[in-house]
């Protein structure tokens, strides 16, 4: 079957890609556009490492056919990272030892971004609920929870 052209807004810019039927957003990001912050973990919807924001909502790019989000706004970790330095959530992860192998970090950071966009001062339980779909095998989560709370403080005082 012929490939199709899909356009969508990625990190503030319109992009156009040619894809085979049912190509996932994850494959488009990583293989077509070479934006590899979005990880490929389980490809089962179980690990959260491929999380991106679609119209501000966290979604799993490994389960999302790119044709489904034609014309919509996608934000990946590349989209929130400034040209110089780090986003306050990234800096909070760094300062709170919330990154070890780093594989879960892009998904964790995007989910925490979506949470803080809605709720600038979440409780620890609200952070736990938000990251329940993201697996980290290194940190034991405690440093990630501290980083999320620290990021909330930084963003509020910014």
């Amino acid at each position: 079957m012929a490939s199709r052209i899909v356009t969508f807004n990625l990190n503030g810019r319109d992009v156009e890609v040619m894809v085979k039927p049912l190509t996932t957003l994850q494959a488009v990001l990583r293989e077509h556009l070479h934006l590899t912050a979005t990880k490929s973990g389980c490809r089962q919807g179980g690990c959260g490492s491929c999380t991106v924001l679609v119209n501000g909502e966290p979604m799993l790019s490994c389960l999302l056919p790119v044709e489904d989000i034609a014309g919509q706004k996608v934000v990946t970790l590349e989209g929130i990272t400034p040209a110089e330095g780090l986003h306050p959530i990234q800096q909070a992860f760094f300062d709170n030892y919330a990154i070890q192998c780093g594989y879960c970090s892009p998904g964790m950071i995007m989910v925490i971004k979506a949470l803080l966009d809605r709720n600038p001062n979440p409780t620890r339980q609200e952070v736990m609920d938000a990251i329940a779909g993201n697996v980290c095998r290194c940190t034991g989560y405690d440093s990630i929870l501290r980083a999320a709370e620290d990021a909330a403080r930084r963003l509020q005082s910014a």
Partner: protein, 277 residues
């Protein structure tokens, strides 16, 4: 065999046309949270896939004391738009945030146990499901009749789930999902209960269970035991014991059938105790 075509119909009518044209060779999905993992792993290798995300079925409306929920309403949308606490509680216990943003109310009906924890709440609320076919039009059946076996339903090959009708609860409800973790986890047993009492006696009771049968089930013998009695420690203990006898638990990586049956008795009792409080 690579996927030959992916269809994204813009309406239910277009979706039914495509289903009629391509027949059972067409894999139907909505949020993709069940179908895409199987496709990514090569377990499912469909030639043609239809996605329902843009088929205009994601709306919630009120109609004479009934909540009408379109089949592709996401679980997040349901929790935001349905003011039925048991539904919100059920949604909170399904997947993580991302899965709730993608997974749909209609799609959840096809999640094999121990997944599918929304249907157990819908069964306790006595929901009906409307199925649509191009040739035969629409039919509405009780959700309890929709489930026919493990991964089998009353859905005909030319039909799609169009919407669910959920009566607003008349009585008290409770919902408990017992699992090994607090969130994003398969159930050991999930209990949803709806009890109407009149003059201190149970006038109507619905008890639904998930993860202890081939599909989400009503335990009708246990329900019957409650009718006409006050909801007290004695009647609750009898119903809980009957529910444990009536369910058909299975063994998987989460729990053994023996453990699931024991926990069914415990958590049916706790669910009813919450209503009796």
């Amino acid at each position: 065999m690579a996927i030959q075509d992916y269809f994204l119909p813009k309406s239910l009518e277009q979706a039914l046309d495509l289903l009629t044209e391509h027949g059972p060779a067409l894999l139907v999905m909505a949020g993709g949270t069940i179908a895409m993992p199987l496709i990514n792993d090569g377990i499912s290798m469909p030639e043609k896939v239809m996605g329902l995300r843009h088929a205009g079925l994601n709306a919630v409306r009120r109609e004479n004391g009934t909540l009408v929920v379109g089949a592709t309403t996401t679980l997040t949308q349901l929790a935001q738009q349905a003011d039925i606490p048991m539904l919100q509680e059920a949604v909170r216990h399904i997947g993580g945030w991302q899965i709730r943003n993608m997974g749909t109310v209609g799609g959840n009906l096809f999640a094999p146990p121990p997944a599918g924890d929304l249907a157990v709440a819908l069964l306790a609320l006595d929901a009906t499901v409307t199925l649509a076919s191009k040739q035969r039009g629409r039919r509405t059946i009780p959700l309890a009749e929709f489930f026919t076996g493990f991964m089998t339903t009353a859905l005909a090959p030319d039909e799609l789930v169009a919407e669910l009708h959920i009566p607003l609860p008349r009585g008290k409800t409770s919902y408990i999902k017992y699992a090994r973790k607090h969130a994003n986890t398969p159930a050991i047993v999930t209990v949803a209960a709806h009890v109407v009492t009149e003059g201190n006696k149970v006038a109507d009771a619905r008890l639904a269970l998930n993860a202890v049968g081939p599909h989400p089930i009503r335990v009708r013998r246990a329900e019957q035991l409650l009718l006409g009695s006050p909801l007290n420690a004695d009647s609750i203990a009898l119903a809980a014991k009957e529910a444990a006898a009536e369910c058909e638990p299975f063994t998987d990586a989460i729990a053994t059938d023996w453990y699931r049956r024991r926990m069914t008795e415990v958590f049916v009792r706790r669910a009813l105790e919450r209503i009796a409080e």
